[in-house]
């Protein structure tokens, strides 16, 4: 009966196509590497799982008490066997550690931007970054600030004009984007599943992560740390567009913000509140 149940439990969910792999492929290399690492770990885990459950189910069926069956074997232990599985378990986790370190560089070190990516010059200032350096390349740095219950993005300034946005983060394709993440109230967690792992946004700390998107598209995610009543609605999108379109967006956004700020200060002057 247990065996039938186990079979049922294995068979039922596999009806869902992506049951065994995270849905994070195709955004950025770090996300792909995380997925590969996960699949390797799951294969090792799957073998152990099958072994343990197999022995368990076999024992429960084969060694059931039966009329006229054999007496139970009075075994108290077996030192070589004990040593064997201790060393075996240690070797498995050691192998897992080696594999992890082999993948670590690809996940944490930002890639080089593609030649087709956004470059220095024009309106875009390209920052050099102090985290793991982008080898021989340039990158776009965006400051992410978590606030109950939205995300604010600060881009490099355009001709002295501050550029920022909320909810939708526009980025150029083919360009390495590094994020500096913090929070101005409670703890949040920045996460776009297809663009790599999470980075907690903790007040008073700056966290960092990166991605490089090669195809234009929209990548959705949401806050992953309980941050209050609106936590479930604290969503975010990363919109990847061609570099030229990004430059145009940046300039337009700068102009819009300048315009809005001018109108605001004018309104305040009219109401006699003075400049902010």
């Amino acid at each position: 009966m247990l065996g039938a149940l186990a079979l049922l439990l294995i068979a039922a969910p596999s009806a869902f196509a992506d049951f065994f792999t995270p849905e994070n492929k195709g955004g950025s290399r770090n996300a792909d590497d995380i997925q590969t690492l996960f699949v390797i770990a799951m294969i090792i885990g799957g073998v152990i799982f099958a072994g343990v459950e197999g022995v368990l189910v076999y024992s429960l069926i084969r060694f059931r008490r039966r009329r006229g069956g054999p007496e139970p074997a009075q075994i108290r232990g077996n030192t070589p066997l004990e040593m064997g599985w201790t060393v075996g378990a240690a070797v498995i986790v050691a192998i897992l550690a080696v594999i992890t370190f082999a993948f670590l560089g690809g996940i944490t070190t930002p890639e080089r931007s593609l030649p087709s990516g956004a470059t220095a010059g024009n309106a875009l200032q390209v920052a050099s970054i102090d985290q793991a350096s982008v080898p021989g390349g340039h990158s776009l740095e965006i400051h992410v600030n978590g606030q109950q219950y939205l995300w604010r993005y600060d881009y490099p300034a355009v001709r002295g004009q501050q550029v920022f946005g909320y909810y939708d983060m526009y980025v150029p394709v083919g360009t390495t984007v590094t994020l500096k993440i913090t929070s101005s109230d409670v703890a949040h967690s920045w996460w776009i599943p297809k663009l790599g792992g999470k980075a907690d946004a903790i007040p008073g700390h700056t966290n960092s992560t990166w991605f490089r998107i090669n195809r234009p598209g929209i990548y959705a995610g949401e806050c992953a740390e309980l941050c209050g009543e609106g936590h479930a609605d604290m969503r975010a999108r990363v919109i990847a567009v061609p570099p030229a379109q990004f430059q145009a967006w940046l300039v337009r956004q700068a102009a819009d913000i300048k315009d809005a700020q001018a109108k605001l200060s004018l309104a305040r002057q009219i109401r006699g509140e003075g400049n902010p």
């Binding site: 969910p13 770990a41 039966r66 075994i75 232990g77 992890t100 996940i107 903790i202 966290n207 992953a224």
Partner: protein, 491 residues
């Protein structure tokens, strides 16, 4: 005849003074210092809290049965998240194990009672007081920052109502209760073993209660300090966890998990002990590798103090620190694996008697190994950057705490109930109860791994109609209801 009467008459009369009569009636339960009665009080009370925590879980599953559901307010949902986690950890699993320990440890080591019977009673009443104070908040404002109550969300700037204070009070009261209980167990096991009950002959369950007690003594001061600091932050103007006042929110996470991870093993080790008692009985074979089982429990105890930051992998922390906590978490998989292999070897070539406790013990083995494997996967910190705070983690902790500890607790309950009550339980109903719990549990939590893989974060009160999320959530909710049927059947 004549001679017999004479002999009886010659029997010396034994006169005792200064011994109180054994109290009877229901009030005797209030004044009792008897370890067995206190054990039963623990078991009864914790199962009341288990049902409350289960109802909270069920409300959450109802809310999540459909996308964009409007059954519950977001604040109510967060309150349920907090109440469920806190109840199951502090008011069910930890004290139910204290209940089993109270009842069984003196019997197993041949002691007359616990070392400090009145302190033992105080432990129970402090625990009950903590639970009542916490549940009193239902009539005001329940806490809503999760069972982890991360600062600064739990600070008064963001949650000024008194729910968090009720939570702090609960941590203090149940903390003192557990600490006194742990000291009591330690003193009893070290000093009151019957002649001949040497360390090498002690039942494994007693060993695990001993290391459970050590861990409680080591871990509880950290959380006691943390909640005291939170209390003064909230009411007396300090800023331990407020970065604008020079404090650090990460300090809370470190202090909480320095307690919180040993707490996981506090909830698991005595369950391991029960399984180590039950399997040999039903396999009609001695436990395979007694020394290895005990030594691995000791190794887990030591290592569990060194793995806390694996709950904090996505925080801004140096890679070398993350690597250390990954390796220490890997290391703890080795003694855990040893235990699983020893249990399998205990069943091997036995003559296995298929009774309800054995079903639950086998259920424990088959489910706990899933939680163990997903635990190792989550310890790989780059992989955890993906899975942290998703439903994959929710599935993992339930395979460890429900598939592991709770299955073992039910095995223990079915196994020792006849001894505690003097009545045998119905074998048919016992098997039905196992079947419903096993199927319901897997329906609820197996699909939650998939939800995590698809990127669904935990602790969200609603979700969009995206991918397989609705279908998987519906399966999970149906599974949760199967367990209600189970609860009714068990009652």
């Amino acid at each position: 005849m004549e001679a017999a009467t004479l002999v009886a008459d010659a029997r010396p009369e034994i006169v005792v003074r200064g011994i109180r009569e054994r109290p009877t009636g229901w009030t005797s339960w209030l004044t009792t210092t008897d370890h067995k009665r206190i054990g039963l009080l623990y078991l009864f009370t914790t199962f009341v809290f288990f049902i409350l925590g289960g109802v909270e879980a069920l409300l959450m599953r109802l809310q999540l049965a459909q996308p964009n559901s409007t059954l519950l307010e977001p604040k109510t949902y967060n309150e349920l998240v907090t109440m469920h986690g806190t109840t199951m950890v502090f008011l069910f699993v930890v004290p139910v194990l204290a209940g089993f320990g109270n009842y069984l440890v003196p019997l197993m080591i041949g002691a007359r009672d616990m070392a400090f019977p009145r302190l033992n009673a105080l432990s129970y009443w402090l625990f009950l007081g903590g639970g009542l104070v916490f549940y009193a908040s239902v009539f005001f404002t329940p806490p809503s920052a999760g069972w982890t109550s991360y600062a600064p969300l739990s600070d008064n700037a963001f949650l000024p109502d008194n729910g968090i204070d009720a939570w702090i009070f609960l941590i203090h009261l149940t903390g003192i209760s557990s600490l006194l209980g742990a000291i009591n167990f330690t003193a009893t096991i070290h000093n009151m073993r019957a002649r001949g009950m040497s360390w090498g002959r002690m039942p494994v369950f007693v060993w695990t209660i001993l290391v459970y007690s050590y861990l409680l003594i080591l871990a509880l001061p950290a959380v006691a300090a943390a909640v005291t600091m939170l209390l003064t932050d909230r009411h007396f103007g300090t800023a331990f966890f407020d970065n604008t006042g020079g404090g650090d929110p990460l300090l809370w996470q470190h202090l909480f998990w320095f307690f919180g991870h040993p707490e996981v093993y506090i909830m698991a080790l005595p369950a391991f002990g029960m399984i180590s008692e039950i399997l040999p009985v039903f396999a009609r074979k001695p436990l395979f590798g007694y020394k290895a089982v005990v030594a691995s429990a000791a190794a887990i105890t030591f290592l569990s103090m060194l793995v806390w930051a694996h709950h904090m992998f996505p925080t801004p922390t140096a890679t070398v620190v993350l690597a250390f906590f990954m390796l220490s978490s890997f290391a703890i998989a080795v003694p855990t694996g040893i235990k699983i292999f020893n249990w399998l070897a205990t069943l091997w070539r036995g003559t296995i008697v298929m009774k309800t406790p054995l079903f639950f013990a086998a259920g424990f083995l088959s489910m706990f190994v899933i939680g163990g494997i997903s635990g190792v996967v989550l310890a790989i910190f780059p992989v955890d950057w993906y899975f942290n705070d998703t439903y994959f983690v929710v599935a993992h902790i339930h395979y460890v705490l429900f598939g592991g500890s709770v299955f073992a607790i039910f095995a223990g309950l079915y196994y020792w109930f006849p001894k505690m009550s003097g009545r045998m339980l119905s074998e048919g109903l016992g098997r039905l109860s196992f079947l419903l719990m096993f199927v319901g549990f897997n329906l609820t939590f197996l699909v939650q791994h998939s939800l995590g893989l698809e990127g669904m974060p935990r602790r969200i009160y609603r979700y969009p109609d995206y991918s397989n999320w609705p279908a998987l959530n519906l399966i999970s909710t149906v599974g949760a209801h199967a367990r209600v049927v189970h609860a009714v059947a068990a009652a």
